[in-house]
Symmetry: C2
Subunit: 288 residues, 2 copies
Amino acid sequence: MKELINLINEKLDEYMQITYPESIFKAMKYTLMLPGKRLRPIMCLETAKILGCDINKMLPTACAIEMLHVQSLIHDDLPCMDNDDYRRGKLSNHKVFGEANAVLAGDALLTFAPQLIIEKSEDLSMTQIVRILHEYTKFAGAYGLIAGQVVDIESEGGKLDKTKEHTLDFIHLNKTAVLFRLAIRCGAIGAGADDKTIEELDDFAKKFGLAFQIYDDIMDEISSFEEMGKTIGKDKNSGKLTYVSLYGLDSAKRKFKTLISECYDIIEKYNSEVFKNIIKKLESKVGD
Amino acid sequence: MKELINLINEKLDEYMQITYPESIFKAMKYTLMLPGKRLRPIMCLETAKILGCDINKMLPTACAIEMLHVQSLIHDDLPCMDNDDYRRGKLSNHKVFGEANAVLAGDALLTFAPQLIIEKSEDLSMTQIVRILHEYTKFAGAYGLIAGQVVDIESEGGKLDKTKEHTLDFIHLNKTAVLFRLAIRCGAIGAGADDKTIEELDDFAKKFGLAFQIYDDIMDEISSFEEMGKTIGKDKNSGKLTYVSLYGLDSAKRKFKTLISECYDIIEKYNSEVFKNIIKKLESKVGD
């Protein structure tokens, strides 16, 4: 895991060159290079690997997905959105570079990510590149990540009373699970996997994404700023719809465990130490 | 021209379907469907046409470029950027939908545009699609549109005193000319043009883009809200670097005329009524 993280950090640093006008590239790179778990690019590379593909082939795509993730964090933290001053333990982008640059740095990451895939994926076919870009554009936009963010904002203060469970699943599938789905689907496409395999791994990604979001909701309740690197208790205080607020802590933990167990079932046959380690780490933090 | 505008509006309306969560799609569609000149998509289609390509082939790309343009307008108008309450004669996006939705609507357009190109360009080859997406990602991001916007913001209040001319050209080439370049280059790629033709037309696009920006600067000085559909005199009042502020009105007009004359020289052999009409309209507004 550590080696993968180092490799990804090294590549992110290499891909993200600072040129004129420096202010925008510095803003993009600042949040990108904050120490992160790099879960999404790791899962993209690991998916390629368990399907027999050289991970070097997928490094541009894996890094592009991390850039998309960071873009969503920069815009989410803006004063007009979640208004968060901290991210990954450091000041958030707009606190360092100002709001205008934070908006533009997010925009620039959103287009630099696919540019990187196009320019650096020499070992992928044109069809594979188009398929990967199609997944990217679908999951990054109003049919994915942004749909989740919009409904999440609308859920604040309990404004969405009706069919809360359906709404909560929609938010988490779109706001959180989509990036894991994107990572895993792209890894599988790069490896030339058939549709059945892609859909099976996609199912894993959905379940893992939901489990990850429940983990995040639980941590928002029981963790500390030091551990999470971001403001804690915010979701609760802003009346946001979370698994914990809707079902209570115990029930959220049970739901988390069920999903994790289903994840193990799907991934078992691939015998992946990396996937197992990622899941185990979440399990150990949530506890009994 | 009117027929082309109608065709583009019809396609924009068709491509931009409102689905759940409606708030984001409505915000995206609101600014997109405000009456605009549709210059960029028209130039994309006309370039394809003069090079012998059926314009229907390029409708998704042409509309995608208009979406990118609208995305940049929505984010430019935000309070943390140019803070403009009006756009195309109506309230700007954040005044109607709030800042959070305006940021997200821009993000969503930025990814929906390439998604549209991928999903609807059945008559383009995979290589053409990748080339078009490459142009899109380069020109939309920190190597294009956003670079121009960043330096433009930094130029406010006369903060960038040194090498002003170079800075002004950088802003206008990146903030304004890139979208015309993108439109024309994509039209040529779709038509299967050779590199020499693409570069020749690209030169036209650069010159036209600069002329268009000088026209815009002149209008900011001599026009009215009614005519332009946006706040007038803002650039002057905020101390922004413009052709008029740097060279004076007469000199700006002379520079405009020189560029327009060079545009005529390049485009003459294609005998395009559409390009001629577009240029003539600008000329008539700038006057003598």
